[in-house]
């Protein structure tokens, strides 16, 4: 599994209230959620984001509310991967559960700038910054999580066994 795209860079403690403000939580429609994604800290995000782009941030990305609408909105915006120095734990599991790849990497969070072009090899946890010609190493997913992601998320992976 790989990703390749242009970076949208944000800072520390990006909370789920700015990823998708609660005033838009009266729907679970993915496209509608995507149209408001990041609007409270970056009004232009939904117009400039392209399919396959990558989001990079600092520490504690996705802190706050448990709303799965946050990773859903990011994924439906076209983002193929979120890289952060660290993630808030509910966001982390929500992203994995819905099949949005995320990587924790301190160096990538420090070095990558807005608009950099990035390539990711998820199996190896390698992040290549084509703009700066640098490589950063993240922990690859544990097997349990990799399998869940490959099956398309939590529900798909358990559906067969339970029905």
């Amino acid at each position: 599994m790989n990703a390749h795209g242009i970076v949208h860079k944000y800072g520390d403690n990006v909370d789920t209230d700015v990823i998708i403000p609660a005033r838009y939580l009266n729907t679970s429609d993915e496209k509608e959620l995507a149209s408001h994604c990041m609007c409270d800290i970056d009004e232009t995000f939904h117009t400039k984001v392209k399919q396959g782009d990558i989001m990079v941030a600092g520490d504690n990305f996705g802190c706050g509310s448990s709303r799965e609408h946050a990773p859903i909105a990011i994924k439906a915006s076209g983002i193929d991967c979120v890289i952060a120095k660290s993630f808030a734990r509910i966001f982390y599991r929500n992203a994995i559960n819905i099949g949005l790849p995320i990587l924790e990497c301190e160096e990538a969070g420090n070095r990558i700038d807005d608009h950099d072009e990035i390539e990711i090899d998820f199996d190896l946890g390698k992040i290549y910054n084509r703009t700066k010609n640098e490589t950063y190493q993240a922990e690859p997913f544990p097997d349990f999580i990799k399998e869940m992601m490959e099956q398309g998320g939590l529900l798909k992976s358990i559906a067969k066994g339970v029905k």
Partner: protein, 419 residues
Amino acid sequence: MGMTMTQKILAAHAGLNEVKAGQLIDAKLDLVLGNDITSPVAIKEFEKHAFASVFDKTKIAMVMDHFAPNKDIKAAQQCKTCRTFARGFDIDHFYDVGEMGIEHALLPEKGLVASGECIIGADSHTCTYGALGAFSTGVGSSDMAAGMAKGTCWFKVPSAIRFELKNALKEGVSGKDVILHIIGKIGVDGALYKSMEFGGEGLSSLTMDDRLTIANMAIEAGAKNGIFEVDDITVAYMKDRVKRPYQIYTPDKDAYETIMELDLSQIKPTVSFPHLPENTKTIDEIKEKIAIDQVVIGSCTNGRISDMRIAAEILKGKHVAKDVRTIIIPATQSIYKECIRLGYIDIFLDAGCIVSTPTCGPCLGGYMGILAENERCVATTNRNFVGRMGHITSEIYLASPATAAYSAIAGCIAGKGGM
């Protein structure tokens, strides 16, 4: 290394004798919770994957509290989705307008959570139930859907920070000040992926409402869960509420990688400044006059009867400052009734406040008290992020019910002695 309370509960629910921090486990659930915002997403997933039934209709709770009573047509549709699902699967604990309250005040009150249980909720403040000695954590809607179908949830076993409580709180200081003080010290990611476990000789000075408030905001320090040791106060609280057997777990002495001593007698009324809960100042450190436009007293953090009592005692015979819109929200129907019985509602209305039916409403910027550009609010809620209660330039100052009530009267952030 021994096991923490959290690890013992997780081990028991995973059918293991022992678990270690970092281990991935699948644990059996005693309760799966959702609300009117998160349940529709879970229901959509549940239906998309065509699960034939729920794992146990007595172990699922759905509470219509965030945008209920329905704030608009879309919110009404979401509640309708939940209602239809709950009726379809004959869910026992479905709480709609007239019966509902703010979920994390309602579930302990109804006896639906107990010591030693393993609980997930598609709401980040599900960590509240750790006050009763349960392992309880916030998850997303996919986890809720999987939990409803299968009755289990995957967890990475957390390590823990132990808070060793000493002495007792001074008068006028409450659980909210304790948790804001802690978050101010360790930061909004100070307990990331970890449990916050509370115990020690100071425990006996904290009421159940104090403990519920403290556990409620463990998530604001990034914690997976907050949990209190069970004592006579916990057992007395569960006595008339919990009708089933429950387990009490105590931590091993060598279970903790970090132990923080907390002298409760040193904690002062504390306020979190915009736009992160870690931006704390004690009330006596605030030198400038910070004029306010609104006060909110309520939420899953501070909408319980003792919070109402504290506010009523301060507001009795007084009037809120001109132009300070003061919104009081008892968290459940029974708290609301108790407020009527004790005369608190008269006190609030005479003081120029409004009293709302239970709802999360303003806490997450839903409705019932949205802020305009550049407005400031002192709130007993739990988050002061950008845009949380309204316009992105508005400001939220998190505080205890006492500080909120004093501030409403003063028209600016104030403590007992005024500004």
